[in-house]
Symmetry: C2
Subunit: 186 residues, 2 copies
């Protein structure tokens, strides 16, 4: 399952809560990135921090499931951990942005695309400012990106409105459960 949504919408929090509730049955993919770690970042938890040279080598070796450039840096999903988790029968969640989501959908038609939407644009801006991790310039840039992302919402299979993280995390789990009851045509 791919989970996308504008920065500040709270998708990280609801995905983490859903994973906790699923008690080990969900593997949360950790993206690789070339951006600099922020103070709150933890190598291997929030991201794998690698160099641009390393990232380009992974692309060449077909070791990323999807990748995109975003505000001057690369972001991508390492292939192996995802494939290992699927082999173990775990569900996998990729928390990635719209460009990457489209690559996943193209290469894995069975992937379920879920968009986490804010209750309103005003609420999104408020949450983004409340994080306090970005400069005003970055916030303006993120709000523009959010508009672009919201305009792609119709590419997604499901929409979860993040009113409360409790409800939204339950919604993610409901989607995963229902998808398993779906008839798959092979």
């Amino acid at each position: 399952m791919v989970v996308s949504g504008p920065a500040g919408v709270g998708k990280g929090t609801i995905v983490k809560l859903a994973c906790q509730k699923a008690q080990g049955n969900i593997h949360l993919s950790v993206s690789a990135t070339t951006r600099n770690p922020r103070p709150i970042d933890k190598e291997g938890v929030t991201y794998h921090f690698i160099t641009k040279k390393e990232f380009r080598s992974m692309i060449e070796q077909n070791e990323v499931l999807e990748w995109a450039e975003y505000v001057g840096n690369y972001y991508g999903t390492p292939r192996k951990p995802v494939e290992d988790a699927l082999k173990k029968g775990q569900d996998v969640i990729l928390e990635i942005e719209v460009q990457g989501a489209m690559q996943i959908k193209k290469n894995f038609p069975d992937a379920v695309l879920t968009f986490v939407a804010p209750p309103s644009r005003e609420e999104l801006e408020r949450r983004l400012r409340d994080r306090g991790t970005e400069t005003e310039e970055q916030i303006v840039s993120r709000l523009q990106t959010a508009e672009e992302e919201l305009s792609r919402i119709n590419e997604y299979d499901y929409i979860v409105v993040n009113d409360t993280i409790e409800k939204a995390s339950e919604d993610l789990l409901t989607i995963l459960r229902a998808e398993k009851l779906k008839q798959k045509f092979e």
Copy 2:
């Protein structure tokens, strides 16, 4: 939502339990039929019992959403109660057989088709005999119909295996919840 499945699979029980859990948010459609009431039947609860003349008149007046002939009798879904429930914002479950399900899917592409399957053919036969409501001849006829119905399972969107009524009723509710999170293209 249409719920189908072979006679004896326990779909009536799991649908009833799902409706109880949903506390009034699900309207369970009551079919009209021309067959004779059995001892366990209750007018307006298990079926609306009407004459063949009345049934034909309903068909002519476009007052049934779907109908089918089955073992020499008519069965159909009265239109008005369903439309009234949808207007009130309730979910509606139609517990109908495969022919009727196909009519619903054709006329209402948004309808969700769920097939309740037995854990195995042997278990289905056991449940059918345990009901004790049919003659041996009727049981043989129902098992034949069950085979025909199982062969149409791939027309359905979701498959719920009735291992336990608790799990299966939760599955129905999960499907209804997930369908509301689905992006609808109008």
